[in-house]
Symmetry: D4
Subunit: 217 residues, 8 copies
């Protein structure tokens, strides 16, 4: 259980049987488990064996957590995105963060093309411990949010778009070149990675200077 977090399985390209085998070996040590990029069909196969697991279809995540009660810590991770197109990636981030034991607030539908909705929600973002900002197309949202908040931002480019979007390259470059400070970037569509990083920071915030071995999230 490195980092006090569940064991993580990347489901893409693995058969349901392969995933089940890995889960079995993890569970023999009573560990928490998180499977990402897992389709409904594969999840249902696992759920027959482990009906207590929770599957989130939009996020394509299956997980089990020994102690699922909500965190009493007053901090939270803000998951911010523009609209319906990026929901899948935003939910991968949100559900990952929840599975890692963090409080999460979703602030969706706040794209830069209609910036007033972002301003209507900016306080909730500003008060977060750390934000995950998801954006496709031109990927400008992290830059704008970055100029308005003073905590770390994990920026996630998505592959949503067409033509000169080049499957997310446009949004990726935008985020890497951001003028705003406090932004770092993960791979295209990598909602999981952004949430994992955010959870590490959340854990630091929760424990302050004593952020090491003794943490139980």
């Amino acid at each position: 259980k490195r980092q006090g977090f569940p064991e993580v399985i990347y489901g893409e390209g693995k058969t349901a049987e392969q995933i089940l085998l890995i889960i079995n070996s993890i569970r023999s040590n009573h560990n928490d488990v998180l499977v990402t990029r897992i389709t409904k069909e594969k999840a249902e196969y696992i759920l027959q064996e482990y009906p207590e697991f929770f599957y989130h279809e939009l996020a394509q995540i299956l997980f089990w957590k020994e102690d699922p009660k909500a965190d009493s810590f007053k901090g939270y991770i803000a998951i911010v995105c523009a609209g319906t197109s990026d929901l899948k990636v935003a939910e991968e981030a949100a559900v990952t963060a929840e599975a890692l034991g963090c409080n999460v607030r979703r602030i969706y539908d706040v794209g830069v093309a209609g910036i007033h909705r972002l301003f209507d929600n900016i306080e909730e973002i500003q008060n977060a411990t750390v934000s995950v900002v998801v954006a496709g197309m031109e990927g400008a949202l992290p830059s704008v949010v970055g100029g308005l908040v003073s905590h770390p931002i994990m920026a996630v480019p998505t592959s949503i778009g067409y033509g000169a979007n080049f499957n997310g390259l446009s949004a990726l470059l935008t985020m890497l070149n951001s003028c705003a400070s406090g932004i770092s970037v993960v791979n295209i569509d990598n909602g999981f990675g952004a949430a994992y990083n955010a959870a590490l920071i959340y854990r630091i915030a929760k424990k302050g200077v004593h952020q090491d071995e003794d943490i139980v999230l």
Copy 2:
């Protein structure tokens, strides 16, 4: 004098002598002249022959205009950019638009990383006939402006940046993928082209439905 505009010479890669020869042949027809991408040294060579010409060093533009009095039309072109780095390109746009006989307002230093300055100036941009929005680095400014105004925007990516900026590719892709409607894009650093297009629209605004042959800007 196609389009009622001055003859335009692209100065890059031409010697001062070559430019002078072209000017001579244009001027024999009493035409207005606009030279872009012309260094101070070359401009001074021309100015010895044509001391009445005007040279703008930051914009690298040299021009002559038969009738330089300000336009009484109440419309104007807003030239919008983020900061000191993009000034050169913004000035190429602004001086071009002026040389084409348009009213121009400069709204500089309004980048998305500090979006409040943009909001302080948004009305002046909204009231423009057409805007030229210049941005380097991640190039997010046109998207944000595009969501706030309802006139056409000419977006100009600049080559300012480093690393994954790839000499302006990042800003170019951002602008081509913008979620906001009303944005079209010109080549990297092409302040001239954006201003030229804006001037065509300005001319249409000035004359309304009668936008054809009889225009004298």
Copy 3:
């Protein structure tokens, strides 16, 4: 109703149910509606609820317009393209412009490889208020048209081609590098965006200097 135009929904990646929900909320305010990139199947689902809507299959556009009578303004938008391959994008532009209340003239089948057909139709293009020029393969058409007309051109590269076309990259670069003035560019296959920009200019032409709040197209 920002910009006096209908609410626009980008249909790609949205289910018929999601689109219907958005339409319902828009229509509760009696607004005009325009849905792009919507397949026949999804459109038919919507048409059951809103049989008065108009669906254009080639353009993949569904829209409703309160006041669909033709515009008495003598200006028009020229939609120019080379041949059958680019028809889909050209029609996305043409139908969008019509749905935005503009007069439209289609000048198709005028590619540069057989330039005489372009010359046979050049006057109709020259007399337009603004042109949308659509081209795939090498994308040279906007450059040639740009040299022959004196109004603004919205250039649309298409993804038509193979090999070193790289899904429209070739045509996109061609248009961004055009030697002709008066050309600005939108994303690959973005017929909608080009038409939207053209409609903004058309509106300016129609109203002249008074181009602001009081416009009803």
Copy 4:
């Protein structure tokens, strides 16, 4: 003084005079100041006016700090890099972090091609609050470190390399595709950005849950 940090000036592409003007206006509010990417020549010009400023030539950073005493907090930022080639970027990160008031430890010369040196120093890295890992060439160092530590890593690709390195693209892609969790990435050569992000996390660690307005680093 957004975020409790000094005002930051990006020195590249600004003249010494321009930088001095910006410093003057900042200093009139008694703020801390940090200038990055500033050459020795420009720095010396500023130092004539502000001899109390500190210039670090390798890092190309000039700064002034009201209260420069070391932080009593027991956490620290580990700055990790492979060898002499990446020193410039590593020092931009290290000096930035120091100027932002953080404890810093440098763990240099620990590249993956001779992984034993990394293992000799791994405990000092593991005990850090957050790490900045700088790597050029193939950029594999963050992946290896990421597998060995359980705190957040800010990965900085550098432009060091030749041929198929493509000025840092290789290292950038490596880091974005890392199999290890806990890694996020900034622009090529952006030591400043990585250190800024790390300092935000360091500040959170120092103050724990109360990470907001009341922080004085």
Copy 5:
């Protein structure tokens, strides 16, 4: 039988009938045969004619070998890879090497993100004559192995990954830019090519200075 090795047929893009014809002509000379990239369906078609052939489904390889007894030579080729995702390519390499008459040891599941498993197996890798190291995602494994062994490494990037992986480009660039000496690279997913090169070296090791015509593997 150039190089003392079987005739090799690249199965991709050939029909089962075409492959059968080529095998027939080869077998008329009693040669060994190796077919790569051949699907189960095509292989079954061939196996009806040549039931003595061996088909390996994961490796997608079909081959026949006159003298299949194990090599008494004490050297071996180590096939090293990170996890389940790269198995297909690793097995293409392993089965190719076996079909070329070499001793092979598989050291799988030793990725850099969990470097301890690599260290648990490092001696077996170090004692190999030559290694084939297969890696997708960021492709860092050959660099780390390269620093720990003193024999030649054939590095194989795989197309496993997503987003900024660009179908294996990321891993390919990583390997080409490796800081470790002793590494050379083959095409993305080219397990066959790496194994073929490794087998050439294995043959040299087996025969020492007399490595020419007289070899029968």
Copy 6:
């Protein structure tokens, strides 16, 4: 004297001394000689030894020809280009073709942005045996010419342009994707190669069916 043409030396990256040595060895067999990409300084060094050689500075070509009298054949190669920017490459082509013994006609300053000048000269192009069409920026000229002539066209993209031109990539892709038939393409700026190919065709035209060994151009 392969192909009945002079020996060709690529001057770039060779010292004047190296070039002289190669010329000496060629000339000992009384062969014609053609050196491309040779600067004035290097050429002057050679001319001291061989004052009878001819140097063309704009074309950067130095050559000697045993029998320089004009060709009585009525065919000719048309060298077509847009304007002053592409002159260097056009002249590399023109002087090469002359040095290879062909009649050449230069039709310069006929770019697509002002297509009327092209039409004023189209007959001279149409009557050529073969054309070399040189274009930078968007590189559309070969497509337009290709639609108007019925002989083979050698298209030469140049590196002239900026921004999204990517050093000639834009023009190269344009030409490779041309809709017009009869066009084939050489490397960016390779005026020499285009002229060489054109000269091969010219030679075929001159001799008709007997185009082989017995040709003396």
Copy 7:
């Protein structure tokens, strides 16, 4: 009948009905017709109406020729390629050339990896009027052939390959950078274009200096 050649229809992306309509209008003028990139299904639809047409499935070409008797001219076009993978493109070239009335000789299965087969056939290639050389993978064949023949070569890169082949980009770049003179290049997989260009040269060879209007191939 521009250029004395049949009317050509690019079948890709057109329905059988659209193709039939175009053929009808062409045939009303008794013209020859050539349709490329046409699937068997579409071709069969046309053949019901025009049973005298000839369809070549591997080449995906449908054509009709008024006067199909073999050309008595002793020249021929050599179509050269490496192996079975490139056959489709080679046949597109070969059948196109035949449909344009040229003598064609196919020299297949002569790739550079087994160069002896190329040498066994080199005389037949050398004696051709012009060659079309087709190659996928690394695309080296035109360079080698180019060094051995003294007539023009039309090089066709194919999209055959995988990994770092990037769908033919590798072969395309190889051919554009060829050290051998006499090579020009067409788009990836463009067998038609290469054959068309070759046929233009063949026609010149057949008629010599009188290569214009009066040709009937």
Copy 8:
């Protein structure tokens, strides 16, 4: 002295002083030393201290070897390249191999555009233990050599070329996509790396099965 080879210093980007310091620390253990990418100026600085070192200017290599007598082993490394342009990289490979204690034979000036010279020298290449094949421009040489020899080939693309060469990308892709077996590839211009790999194989050939600890080259 890992691998029985000298300590290697990559000189690029290091000052003469830095290099001297590293040499001093190595030499205190009486080790052999090899510095690559070192300019004449820097080398002369080192030679003042260590006059017994040997500097090779074309190869930009400085080295010292305890026991420089020629190897009595009858094997050798063939260094193969096309012409004068690639000499620098070829010499980096050749001098590296010599400094590593290997017998080396240089077979230069054998490019594919004039393949007869390659055939005149093919036996000397075929008899080598291992070959390093260096090629710029289209980089086809390793494919051709690979088809003619049955030992391993280390292919080195060089950055020589222009236009669509993209600084060696063309040659790199060619080599990665080679149809010939037995070829593996190193980074662009990495003559050192290729020679190092070749020397590892040479060492295996020299010692046969006993290729481990006890080797003194």
